[in-house]
């Protein structure tokens, strides 16, 4: 019931927001209200969640079409509940941002945002392959328009590239789903067994590699993240990319043990390469969103490293890092949006010196920056550490690459921080460019606060994700 509510409240909210003849302000208020209730529902689900149990919880099931064994089946495991939580929180922040900026065509805008949230939550809740596919694809619909309508000057190229890229991936996945589901006789993620078919495996892998993105599949990343409105970019990098994490953890690992083993090295090498590649490129980007975009690519590669580490250490780390990376990259995009709002640009060449006289802005950017580079003690650090410690067992080289990436992350983040905050005042920065106001703080600070709380107690996530599939090794979360 809770799960259904969590999925369908925003979807229905989207319809209402879109259809109801409300003014811009009322629409925004309604959307924010829905988003906040979503958070509240999630909190209720969290409180009632039994992390000690490894079974599906808050599940709901309904016949959809039985002749092929497809059921509407949703519910949460520990790890997916966290991902859903990430979604609702970031969703609320993004919608709040949209309300704050005052996006025009409010009804369409907020409707699509809510729709996106519902779809992503649906992805994380689905326990049937086709249901998963439905939500996985449904995410694209709002993103396509959100980027295409409210994005930057190059938005159409960006959104088309993004959609085509991801569709190619997910349609290959559809082919895999058909083959896998029919050969298993059921599309249920819980009931179906394992498959050794590498082609089917690759269909899934490519879809998730595009979504994440992994190294050669990231062509959409730069334009999509920079042309999208900042709050949409926040959701893209924060939660949409995590759909790949869910897919890898809950579809690929448990159902394709054989192919996972034989392709592990390839995936790990790609991920390691992507980690360095993304970090290096992030180092040479001329604007905030470019940096965060490639940094996201690097961090997602890192998460994939953890997922393919073949042990629970890496896997738990990957889940933890998914949540913390989601929060931090979203916060970064929102901050970029706020900067753009007051200076009209996020290019480093035009920024600078923003720390002077803007303590709140300086503090928030600094904190988020430090979390981005995974300063030891942060939740990001904990996740990264667990991932690398996990993947170390697959080969010290991966961990060494990860260590290099730690340094690179420091390089690009510090470059970003100092280009924005420090040195002489940039051209685009006017004396009267304000410090962060209360409303803006209300958007970012909760994200930062959650991150800090997670930094104090990362086990909240990493130690509370039972229900993860047992792997080839004998290690299993009790």
């Amino acid at each position: 019931m809770l799960t259904n509510l969590l999925i369908f409240l925003p979807l229905i909210g989207a319809l209402v927001v879109w259809a109801a003849p409300l003014s811009r302000g009322e629409t925004a208020a309604l959307a924010v209200l829905v988003a906040l209730s979503e958070v509240a529902i999630w909190v209720v689900a969290l409180v009632g969640f039994d992390f000690g149990s490894a079974s599906l919880q808050d599940s709901a099931q309904r016949e959809w079409f039985g002749d092929l064994g497809v059921t509407y089946h949703v519910g949460f495991y520990g790890f997916s509940l966290w991902l859903a939580g990430l979604t609702v929180v970031l969703g609320a922040a993004a919608i709040g941002f949209g309300a704050w900026v005052g996006r025009d065509r409010a009804r369409a805008y907020f409707g699509l945002m809510l729709f996106l949230i519902g779809a992503v939550v649906g992805v994380f809740a689905s326990q049937d392959l086709l249901v998963f596919y439905v939500f996985f694809e449904a995410m694209l619909i709002p993103i396509y328009v959100l980027v295409g309508v409210w994005g930057g000057p190059n938005r159409i190229t960006a959104t088309v590239t993004f959609v085509i890229y991801t569709m190619v991936g997910s349609l290959l996945m559809l082919a895999s789903i058909v083959v896998f589901g029919l050969s298993q006789g059921t599309f249920s993620l819980i009931d179906s067994g394992t498959s050794g078919n590498e082609w089917v495996f690759l269909g899934f892998m490519i879809a998730f590699a595009v979504k994440a993105p992994l190294l050669p599949f990231h062509g959409w990343l730069r334009t999509a993240y920079t042309e999208a409105p900042p709050e949409v970019a926040a959701l893209l990098s924060g939660v949409v990319s995590k759909a790949a994490v869910f897919g890898l953890v809950w579809i690929v690992l448990p159902h394709f043990p054989g192919p996972v083993d034989s392709w592990r090295t390839v995936v790990l090498v790609l991920a390691a390469a992507g980690l360095v590649y993304g970090s290096l490129l992030a180092f040479r980007q001329p604007d905030i969103r470019g940096v965060v975009a490639y940094s996201s690519m690097g961090q997602m590669s890192l998460i994939v490293l953890g997922i393919f580490a073949a042990n629970d250490l890496g896997l738990d780390g990957a889940i933890l890092h998914s949540v913390s990376h989601g929060l931090v990259s979203a916060a970064m995009f929102l901050l970029a949006g706020m900067l753009i709002h007051r200076t009209g640009t996020d290019r480093f060449a035009d920024l600078g010196g923003l720390a002077k006289g803007r303590p709140a802005l300086a503090t928030v950017v600094m904190v988020v920056g430090m979390l981005t580079l995974a300063v030891p003690g942060s939740a990001n650090f904990a996740g990264e550490f667990a991932i690398l410690a996990g993947v170390f067992t697959q080969g010290w080289g991966y961990a060494a690459v990860g260590a290099v990436a730690i340094v690179l992350a420091a390089m690009y983040t510090l470059r970003l921080i100092s280009a924005v905050l420090h040195r002489a005042r940039g051209e685009a920065v006017r004396e009267e460019s304000r410090d962060l106001r209360l409303l803006e703080l209300a958007l970012v600070v909760p994200l930062v606060a959650i991150l800090l709380a997670l930094s104090v107690w990362p086990t909240a996530i990493s130690g509370h994700s039972p229900g993860l599939p047992t792997q080839g090794s004998s290690e299993a979360t009790p």
């Binding site: 470059r415 107690w457 130690g463």
Partner: protein, 643 residues
Amino acid sequence: MIAGAWLCLLAPLAGALLITLAGTHLSRAAAGWISTLSVFVGFAGALVAFLQVAGESADERSHTSTAYTWLAAGKFQVAMQILVDPVSLTMMLIITGVGGLIVWYSMGYMKGEDEERRYFAYMALFVFSMLMLVMGGNLLLLLVGWGLVGLASYLLIGFYHDRPEAIAAAKKAFLMNAIGDAAMALGFFLLIAKTGSLDFSTAFDAASSGQLSPNTANLVALGLLGGAVAKSAQLPLHTWLPDAMEGPTPVSALIHAATMVTAGVYLIVRTHAIFEAAPNVQHLSAIIGGVTIVVAGLIALVQWDIKRVIAYSTMSQIGYMFLAAGIGAYGYAMFHLLTHAFFKALLFLAAGVIIHHLAGEQDVRKMGGLRKVMPYTHAVFLVGALALAGIPPLSGFWSKDGIIASALAEGGVLGYTLLVLGLLGGFLTGAYTFRLYYLVFHGEPSELVLEHAGGHMHEAERAHGHGEHAHGEGPLSMLAPVGVLAVLAAIGGLIVIPGLWEPFLTWIDGVAEPLVTASVTQDYATSAAAVALAGIGIWLARWAFVAGRELVPASALRTVFEHKFYFDEIYDALFSRPAQLVANRLRDDVEVPVVQRSLGEIGTGVKEAAGGTARLQSGLLRSYALVIAGSVFVLMVVFVAVR
């Protein structure tokens, strides 16, 4: 005791959070007070804990307190726990004690700065981080503290964020430390892979019981050494430290002299079990220390910036500590750490008083004759300088002497080499310290000094915002901590003397049993040699000053020293430039043309194919019929053929 320790850890954190959250609702002075008080509260906590632990018998002095599981992933678990034992207590006392004094001092030094509140928040954060480092009850928490002090250091070096040099220095410091962190982390990964845990006890037991293969032990120790070298600014990862002098002077005193940079020494002492399982690496650390002593001393001889001289001196002194830790004289390493904290903080703070007085001037060539203008400062600086040079009975003598003696006791090629390096270092210390001393305090007062004499307010100074001078030389909040430190620098070394209190060395030995102990004879011999060499150095400095000559005459050698042995240039050529080059090439030759444009190419290709297909649809009715008829024919042929 445990409560005291937790209080010690959390009080500065609370202070930092309070200042940050209160923001502009807090007055600037209040921020200073909160920061200072929080550190002193920490000191009180540490003191309580210290007294209790000191009252216990020697083998029961290690206490662990676990709050909760910090990180659990898979079977790997790390608790949020603190370890209270003599080593960490010593560090806690230094950090909070000296730290408290320095924060107190800052209230005067930073008065009128634009963003004081931020400064004090950072200071409190630093103290918390440092405490985390030394109190962390397992290797991961140690790494956490390790990283956090790097963060605080970055923040404080870059405090004057509108100065490009400051920002560059801050980034450099952070990056160097990140490299060290990465090295340490790699060592930890290996340790996790082998033992499944990062608990001190598990790791050390594994190391000392020989459960770790020599190879593993070497690699883990190398990782730890990498971290230690970076953090303690030892060769070759030292280049950030002199640049770090861009930060406010109290920062230099606290972070880049008294506490953070000595963390490497603490690390080696703490993980001595692992190093002992990897003797080669341990010896490597001693050699690194020895070489650093000399190299840093040589560079210090030609520096003109008052803080940079002291900074190189810091590198050099930490070299002694590494040397000691590397040969297993853990007690002396910790002891020198302690005394060094006193006299180096004293020197920095005294330099700060001068800089403050001269409205920010740091070039010693513009100073001179300050002895008359600032007698108090002159006195305390002299104490510090003598202590640094190792002149008895000041604190530096006791600790440095012990280290040199231990090198002698170690013997062998290694020991004698180290001995020579140590003694040479003593000579250099005397020389550069007193070169500085004479340049600053003796001779005729320079124009600049005269301008600022007598509390006369310069225009620029007023603009800089320095307020009233309660004393002729500076506000009380600055002079009082300096005084306290001067006393400590003078007498602090005496705690090593048996009978005064439980000898300091025994106190440490309970945690880290020394591998070498110098005999009394060796002790006296090295003492004599060291003091003599330091004296020669001092004399040489005086001679050069009086003669108006440079200690190192202009030569190729001097050029090498002035370019700090070209480390920056080498790194630039070896790492920075290639990294940037690779990144640029990736961006311009791979990402843009291949990854991004390839999609465009595919798109163009598809569109061309699309245009071609559409052009086939010529609108000519007859061609449609032709295509249909042709297709029917083909279909029929195929059907008949394959029938």
